[in-house]
C-alpha cells in the first residue's frame, strides 16, 4: 500500500506493507539513519519521532497509522538551535551518548525543553525514562538537561532582549 505522510516537511508517498512498522518504513523508504529498530517494544527509545507534534516510539506504530500525519525525525529536529544547546551540555557534562542513543537522548531532551522550559528533576527523569541504553550515566544526564535548559533560556532571553 502507499502511505501519504509528511516527513520532515515534505509530502511523501511511501510504500509499505500492512505488517510494517513506521520505523522500518522511514528507514527503508527515506533512509533516515537516525532511527533504529531495536527493542521493538518502546523501551530503548532509539526509534523516537514526533508524530503529529507528539514524541512517540515509531516501532510501536504500524506504518499504515501514519497516513495523513506529520512526522519529524532527528534529521529535521537537528536544524533547531536547541539541539546545539543540548550538544554543548552533553560535552560540558561529559555525558556524550553512544552513537546508538545519541539522537534518542537529544530528541527527548528537545521534547522536554519545548514543553517545560525550566524542568524539575521529576520532569527530567520522566523524559529520560523514554530512552534506555547502558551507555548512560543517568546522574550526569540530569545535569546535562539542567544545563541545556539554562543555555536555551539564556540564548532565547538574549535574543529577545
Amino acid at each position: 500500500m502507499i502511505i501519504d505522510v509528511t516527513v520532515n516537511g515534505v509530502q511523501r508517498h511511501l510504500k509499505s506493507r500492512s505488517g510494517d512498522r513506521l520505523v522500518d518504513m522511514l528507514r527503508k523508504e527515506l533512509r533516515l539513519s537516525s532511527l533504529n529498530a531495536d527493542c521493538l517494544q518502546g523501551r530503548c527509545g532509539k526509534c523516537l519521532v514526533f508524530m503529529d507534534g507528539r514524541i512517540v516510539h515509531s516501532c510501536l506504530i504500524p506504518a499504515f497509522k501514519a497516513r495523513g500525519g506529520t512526522i519529524l525525525t532527528f534529521e529535521e529536529i537537528a536544524k533547531n538551535p536547541e539541539v546545539n544547546d543540548i550538544e554543548k551540555a552533553f560535552h560540558a557534562t561529559h555525558t556524550q551518548p553512544c552513537p546508538f542513543c545519541h539522537t534518542a537522548k537529544t530528541m527527548v531532551i528537545f521534547d522536554l525543553l519545548s514543553r517545560v522550559p525550566l524542568p524539575s528533576e521529576e520532569d527530567i527523569v520522566e523524559a529520560l525514562d523514554m530512552v534506555s541504553c547502558p551507555c548512560g550515566d543517568p546522574i550526569g544526564l540530569i545535569q546535562t538537561v539542567k544545563l541545556a535548559a539554562e543555555l536555551r533560556n539564556k540564548r532565547k532571553f538574549n535574543r529577545e532582549a
Binding site: D38, H94, Q96, C98, D129
Partner: protein, 646 residues
C-alpha cells in the same frame, strides 16, 4: 539457503580452532545455533522464507547437568595447591563449607550483533561491531582459508558492549562472509534484539564451593576451593574466565594452605562467557559471601574478619613474591564508612533484624561493604591478547592524528585521550582526530574491554605525544611516533603458580557499599544506594571516569535484580519481562577517588562496579533477610518464600 554442506571449499576448517562450527551440521549444540542462512533482498522476505522452512532432526536429550559433570564436558581445567592443606584443616577450630551460585545474565549492550561481508575478487571486507577486530580477522582467515592480508575488517562504531562482543561477532562475520562468497553478493546479518537476547552469549553461570578452616580468632588456615563455570556450548575464552576467577578468589585474603580446582564446563545451552569482569564477578561474590558467613560464625563484624585475613605487605599466597605494599583496605574502608554512614546503618539494621526476624513489620534493609580489585591484563596466551599499539602524527597545521584500533572506543574515552594529548602538545582538543589504521591490522591490538585497552592506550598516547613534543622544535612537521605494548612472554603463567600474585603492583582497588531494601509485599530487593571508594592511581579525567563508573554501576545493579535467564526455557515472555533498571528507579550513587591527582600511572577502573557491586548487593541482602540464600539473582517470589520459612 546456505547450509554447512554448501561450504565444501572450507570443509572442516569451517570450525574455529576452539571447535565452534560456523553452521551446525551433524549436531546442534544449543537452541538458537545457526544451521545455515536464508538469503533474501530484505529482512521481510527472509522471514517469509524462514517461516516456510522446515528443519528435520533427531532429538537427543540435551546435556543440562553441569554441576556434576563428566570428563567429556571439561573444556578447561586449572588446579593448584599450596601448603599442607590436611594439616591446616586438622588444626582449624571452625570448618565452613558452602556453595555459592551465580545465574546467567544478558549483557544489555547498546546494539544487537551483526556483520556485513563483501568479496571483491579474492579480497574480503567485513564491517562488524567487535571489541577485538584483530581476533575477528584471524578467525576469518582461519575459517575461510584466506590469507590475513586479503581481509580488511572495518570495526563499526559501538555503544557500550559490556564485554559481550569479544568473540561472538567473529562467528556472525564468518557466517556472513561464507554466505557472501557463495551468493556472490554482499551479505548483511543483523539480529533483532529479541534474537540477540535469546540466542547470543550471556554471562556464564557458576557454582563456587568454598571449604575453609580457620583458627579460634577467625584467621584463615586453609581454603579448599572448587570453581565451576558453565560456558554453555562454546566459549573460546574459557581459559581466561578460569584464570580471572582463580586470581580473584585467592587475591585478597592471606591463607597458608590453599587448594584450588577450577573447571570450565560445557553444556547444551547458548554460549556463556564474559561479562563486565570476565569471571571475577563470580569469584568475588563467592569469597565475599563466604567471609560474611565466617563473620557470622564468629559473631564478629564482617569488616573485622576481612581485615584480620587481608594480605599484608610482604605476604603472598602460592609462594609468589610478597606484596610490595599493603592493600589499601584500611583507608578505603575508613572513607567508605564515612560517606555511607555504614557503622550506624549496619548496627540499626542488625537491631531491627533481631527484633523482627521474619521481617513481618517495618522496613527491611541491609547494608554491606566489600573490597575488590581489577587487574589490567589478561592471562591466557591468545595471540595479541595484551598487545596494543598507537601511531600518532602531528601535521603541519598542528592537527594531531591518532591512529589506533581503539578509535572504536567510546566518546568519553576519546575525550580523555584528547585532553592528555592536547596538554602535552599544547594544541587544541578539537584539532585531534582518531583514525583507524588504513590497514586495520598494521597496528596489532588486543580487545577493547572494560579494563583492558583503555589505560594501556592512554599510556601509549602519552608516550608517543611526549616523543613528538621532544622532536617538534628540532625537526620539521609532520612528525610521527609509534608505540606498542610488549606481548606477554609465554612464561608469564607458569604451571601451578597462582597468576594473580604477579599483578598487585598494577591493580586498582575498590571498596563498595550497597544499601538494599526489600519490599516485604513482593519480596523484590530494591537497591537504595551505592558508594564506591577507588584507589586507581592517577585519574586522568575525573568527570569521564565518574560518568563511566556510574553507568557501569547501574549495569551491575541490573545484574543483581534481573531475572535469572534459563537458556533451555527462555522465550519471548522472558524478553518482554527483561526491562532492566529504569530511570524512574535509580538508586543514589556516590563515587570517590583516593588521591586522583597523584603522579602515578593511570589504571583501569571500568570493571570495578561489576567486581564489587554484586558481592556487596548480595551481602546487604543477606543482612536484610537474616538468611544466606547463597545465590544471585534472587527473584521476589523466592525472597518471600525465604522470609516465610524463616
Amino acid at each position: 539457503m546456505i547450509l554447512a554442506q554448501d561450504l565444501p571449499t572450507y570443509s572442516l576448517s569451517t570450525c574455529f580452532k576452539e571447535g565452534i562450527p560456523v553452521f551446525a551440521s551433524e549436531q546442534i549444540s544449543y537452541r538458537g545455533e545457526a544451521l545455515g542462512l536464508i538469503l533474501g533482498p530484505d529482512p521481510g522476505s527472509c522471514d517469509e522464507l524462514a517461516a516456510s522452512a522446515r528443519v528435520d532432526c533427531d532429538e537427543e536429550e540435551p546435556e543440562r547437568e553441569w554441576e556434576s559433570f563428566s570428563s567429556s564436558q571439561i573444556v578447561f581445567h586449572y588446579s593448584a595447591e599450596y601448603g599442607d592443606l590436611d594439616a591446616k584443616f586438622d588444626a582449624a577450630s571452625i570448618e565452613l563449607k558452602e556453595v555459592y551460585r551465580n545465574g546467567i545474565f544478558d549483557h544489555h549492550y547498546s546494539e544487537p550483533v551483526g556483520a556485513l561481508a563483501q568479496w571483491e575478487a579474492s579480497k574480503l571486507s567485513v564491517h562488524c561491531a567487535t571489541q577485538w577486530p584483530d581476533d575477528l580477522r584471524r578467525h576469518l582467515a582461519d575459517v575461510l582459508t584466506v590469507p590475513e592480508s586479503d581481509i580488511v575488517v572495518y570495526p563499526t562504531e559501538m555503544g557500550r558492549t559490556l564485554d559481550g562482543k569479544l568473540w561472538y561477532p567473529s562467528l556472525v562475520a564468518a557466517q556472513a562472509a561464507a554466505a557472501a562468497k557463495i551468493s556472490g553478493k554482499p551479505v548483511r546479518i543483523l539480529y533483532t534484539r529479541e534474537e540477540d537476547f535469546l540466542h547470543t552469549t550471556k554471562q556464564a553461570r557458576s557454582a563456587v564451593s568454598i571449604r575453609s578452616g580457620s583458627d579460634d580468632q577467625g584467621r584463615l588456615l586453609a581454603l579448599d576451593i572448587v570453581i565451576l563455570i558453565n560456558i554453555g556450548a562454546y566459549n573460546p575464552l574459557a581459559s581466561e574466565l578460569i584464570y580471572q576467577a582463580v586470581s580473584a578468589i585467592t587475591g585478597i585474603y592471606s591463607c597458608p594452605a590453599i587448594r584450588i580446582e577450577a573447571y570450565a564446563i560445557r553444556s547444551n545451552t547458548i554460549p556463556l562467557g564474559a561479562m563486565g569482569s570476565i569471571g571475577a564477578t563470580h569469584a568475588f561474590f563467592a569469597i565475599e559471601a563466604h567471609m560474611n558467613n565466617l563473620a557470622q560464625r564468629y559473631a564478629k563484624h564482617p569488616a573485622e574478619i576481612k581485615a584480620l585475613n587481608m594480605l599484608k605487605k610482604g605476604q603472598s599466597v602460592f609462594g609468589a613474591p610478597g606484596l610490595s605494599n599493603d592493600i589499601p583496605f584500611a583507608r578505603i574502608h575508613r572513607e567508605l564508612e564515612q560517606i555511607s554512614d555504614y557503622p550506624r546503618k549496619y548496627a540499626s539494621y542488625e537491631l531491627v533484624k533481631k527484633r523482627d526476624p521474619g521481617c513481618r513489620e517495618g522496613i527491611v534493609r541491609g547494608i554491606a561493604l566489600t573490597l575488590g580489585y581489577q587487574t589490567g591484563r589478561s592471562f591466557s596466551l591468545q595471540s595479541g591478547g595484551n598487545v596494543y599499539s598507537v601511531e600518532v602524527t602531528l601535521d603541519r597545521d598542528l592537527r594531531l592524528r591518532i591512529k589506533t584500533q581503539a578509535a572504536i572506543g567510546s566518546e568519553p574515552l576519546k575525550t580523555m585521550w584528547r585532553k592528555t594529548a592536547a596538554e602535552i602538545l599544547s594544541i587544541q582538543e578539537d584539532h585531534i582526530d582518531f583514525l583507524l589504521p588504513e590497514n586495520t591490522h598494521s597496528l596489532p591490538s588486543g580487545p577493547m574491554t572494560l579494563s583492558r585497552g583503555s589505560s594501556l592506550i592512554h599510556a601509549l598516547i602519552e608516550k608517543t605525544c611526549r616523543s613528538i613534543q621532544k622532536k617538534r622544535f628540532r625537526e620539521s612537521l609532520p612528525i610521527s611516533a609509534k608505540a606498542r605494548t610488549r606481548p606477554l612472554k609465554t612464561q608469564a603463567v607458569p604451571e601451578n603458580l597462582f597468576p594473580g600474585a604477579q599483578l598487585f603492583d598494577s591493580v586498582s582497588w575498590c571498596g563498595t557499599a550497597v544499601e538494599v531494601e526489600i519490599d516485604t509485599l513482593t519480596g523484590i530487593p530494591i537497591p537504595l544506594a551505592v558508594w564506591m571508594v577507588i584507589d586507581a592511581g592517577k585519574i586522568v579525567n575525573q568527570q569521564t571516569a565518574l560518568a563511566s563508573l556510574r553507568a557501569s554501576a547501574l549495569s551491575a545493579l541490573a545484574l543483581c535484580t534481573a531475572n535469572d535467564f534459563d537458556p533451555l526455557e527462555a522465550g519471548r515472555k522472558d524478553y518482554m519481562a527483561d526491562s532492566g533498571l529504569r530511570m524512574l528507579q535509580l538508586p543514589r550513587i556516590e563515587i570517590e577517588f583516593i588521591e586522583p591527582d597523584r603522579n602515578t600511572a593511570a589504571r583501569g577502573i571500568g570493571e570495578l562496579p561489576f567486581i564489587t557491586i554484586p558481592a556487596a548487593f548480595y551481602s546487604a541482602l543477606t543482612q536484610a533477610l537474616g538468611l544466606d540464600p547463597r545465590q544471585l539473582p534472587l527473584k521476589g517470589g523466592e525472597i518471600l518464600r525465604l522470609l516465610e520459612g524463616s
